[in-house]
């Protein structure tokens, strides 16, 4: 008892010293900007000159601008459709990959490839691959792909969502695979003894046991899709186009701030992103009890 008390006291001094570098660095570039973005949303700044006070003008402009709402709508659409597309595929791949074996391991290696590529590399590859004249649509039998998948305002967003899935499904499949491997086999054996069929076992054991994985994966997908930037930037040549067909919030922010040089309004859009992002992860955290990391830690 006294031992713990004395170590605790001693780790007070060096503990602070050890925690300080990380806290300072993270505080400076992670936490200060969180406040800074709200402050800048009340400022007038072109990104180069001096910064002036703008009051609520940026907010008025941003919230009455139809483009903001369109970007928000597109963001929500990307989020929802991405979740609907990626979750079942990732779950199926996870279920397939979970048992150990050589063939499955080979597939696991294949599925890992997109995770090694940068979003820029993926964007450039798909852009060239989907070129209506020289891309994959020129292959006999695949001529139906020879249409402006990225160039048409009706198709571009769905094409983008597909490429996003290409990039991220393997990651979520890995999460599901890890989740499935952690389910105790005894549960299945007991259920089989009780006469539960495979569907019943999947519905009553696998899915409930994967609840935590599912919430984690969904949180990462939803919060992640708020911030898809790199890939859409490259696929649309930095415009969020054609027109504004793929101009999600982060793209709108980038274009307002770094192309139109209106950092104040861009910061207002960014503040929306912050609120949206933090709100969403807090909601998911509450739903899932993700803070149990915390209680585990406090239970030390």
């Amino acid at each position: 008892m006294t031992l713990t008390a004395s170590t605790r006291r001693r780790s007070g001094g060096s503990g602070l010293l050890m925690a300080a570098p990380a806290l300072l660095l993270f505080g400076l570039f992670g936490l200060v900007p969180l406040v800074g973005v709200v402050a800048l949303s009340l400022a007038r700044w072109d990104g180069l000159g001096s910064i002036g006070w703008a009051g609520l003008a940026n907010w008025g402009d941003t919230l009455t601008d139809g483009a903001t709402w369109q970007a928000l709508g597109l963001t929500v659409k990307v989020m929802a459709v991405s979740w609907l597309v990626q979750t079942p595929i990732a779950l199926a791949l996870g279920v397939f990959q979970a048992p150990r074996g050589r063939v499955r391991a080979l597939f696991a290696v294949l599925f890992f490839l997109p995770l090694l590529l940068s979003a820029v590399a993926i964007g450039l590859t798909w852009q060239a691959l989907l070129d209506p004249s020289f891309g994959i649509g020129a292959t006999p039998g695949l001529h139906w792909l020879a249409q402006p998948l990225l160039g048409s305002p009706d198709l571009a967003l769905y094409t983008v969502i597909f490429v996003i899935a290409w990039q991220f499904v393997p990651f979520h499949a890995l999460l599901y695979q890890a989740g499935i491997r952690q389910i105790p086999t005894a549960l299945y054996e007991a259920a089989a003894l009780d006469g539960a069929g495979p569907v019943a076992r999947f519905l009553h054991i696998t899915l409930p046991q994967l609840k935590y994985t599912m919430v984690t994966s969904s949180t990462l997908m939803l919060v992640g899709s708020l911030t898809y930037f790199d890939l859409i930037f490259v696929l649309s040549g930095g415009t969020g186009g054609p027109g504004t067909a793929t101009r999600v919030l982060p793209l709108a922010m980038y274009i307002t701030g770094f192309q139109a040089h209106d950092m104040g309004r861009a910061s207002a859009v960014a503040t929306l992103l912050v609120v949206f992002g933090l709100g969403l992860s807090m909601l998911m955290t509450r739903l899932s009890g993700f803070t149990r990391m915390d209680s585990q830690q406090e239970g030390m």
Binding site: G15, L93, L116, W166, Q296, M300
Partner: protein
């Protein structure tokens, strides 16, 4: 009856797997064969056919340019960021685990938990302002510092969950021997955490290597460009020379492919460690 259902489920997951495998492999295959085609063959050949006249000229075109500059920049940025992140995160994680129950421990743990949810894109404008004011704009350090800062939360989390499992008796034995916190960190926590350190280093390295937003916003000159940014420059430079652009894409990915071959286990662990505990 039930075996029929099992078979149906297996068929479904198996079919999804095969289909997705094709969807994953075809673009990667196309990327590689296209990078080996002559420009003439690129317009003439069927896209998925093997190259009619395989050539490494596209790679020569890329390597004759500034590729080595970009590669060196990427290596410097990645190594510096990973070193900084892992060192700081190890110290922070040790302080959190050893000081369990203290306010410092609880508050910093919460901050990093919050940090996991801060979208990079949302705070890029203040980060840009900070970097300008620190007179770091258009330098490699401008990429390193924010990249390390944003890698810290997940890195600290993974290391905390690892160090938490180290038996307390080991620490207590060292205290009896009169060891202070720094000695415990160096001669107990660090060696024990070696697998976890490898995992986070490999994971952070992959993220930084592929990072695009910080280089895009915080650097400007060609001689400061890292590979992902350079790829977008190539597109402008090579224009319709798609095979050369694809060769650049392949070259920029090779180091990560090597990492995958050498440290696949750490990569997989890193990707899932933070989230599937």
């Amino acid at each position: 009856m039930s075996t029929a259902v099992t078979r149906a489920r297996r068929a479904l997951t198996g079919a999804t797997t095969l289909l997705w495998a094709a969807i994953v492999v075809v673009p990667v295959y196309w990327l590689v064969v296209t990078s080996l085609r002559t420009r003439a063959d690129f317009t003439a050949d069927s896209p998925l056919a093997p190259p009619g006249h395989p050539t490494l000229d596209n790679y020569r075109t890329v390597l004759d340019g500034d590729f080595t500059t970009y590669l060196l920049n990427s290596v410097l940025v990645t190594v510096a960021t990973v070193a900084l992140t892992v060192l700081f995160a190890l110290m922070a994680a040790f302080a959190i685990v050893r000081g369990a129950g203290s306010r410092l421990s609880r508050v910093s743990f919460r901050l990093y938990l919050l940090g996991l949810a801060i979208p990079l894109q949302a705070v890029i404008i203040p980060v840009y302002l900070l970097i300008i004011r620190m007179r770091l704009y258009d330098s490699l350090l401008a990429i390193v510092l924010p990249s390390a800062a944003f890698a810290l939360p997940i890195t600290v989390m993974i290391l905390v969950s690892f160090l938490r499992d180290v038996p307390r008796s080991l620490f207590e034995a060292m205290i009896v021997d009169g060891a202070g916190d720094w000695r415990m960190l160096l001669s107990l926590a660090a060696p024990l955490a070696r697998p976890a350190l490898m995992t986070v280093a490999v994971y952070d390295g992959l993220q930084v290597w592929n990072g695009f937003l910080f280089p895009l916003i915080l650097t400007q000159s060609g001689d400061k460009a890292v590979l992902p940014l350079a790829l977008t420059l190539y597109r402008g430079q090579f224009g319709i020379d798609v095979p050369a652009t694809m060769a650049a894409v392949v070259l920029s990915t090779l180091p990560m492919f090597a990492l995958f071959v050498l440290a696949r286990r750490q990569l997989v662990a890193g990707l899932t460690a933070g989230f599937s505990k």
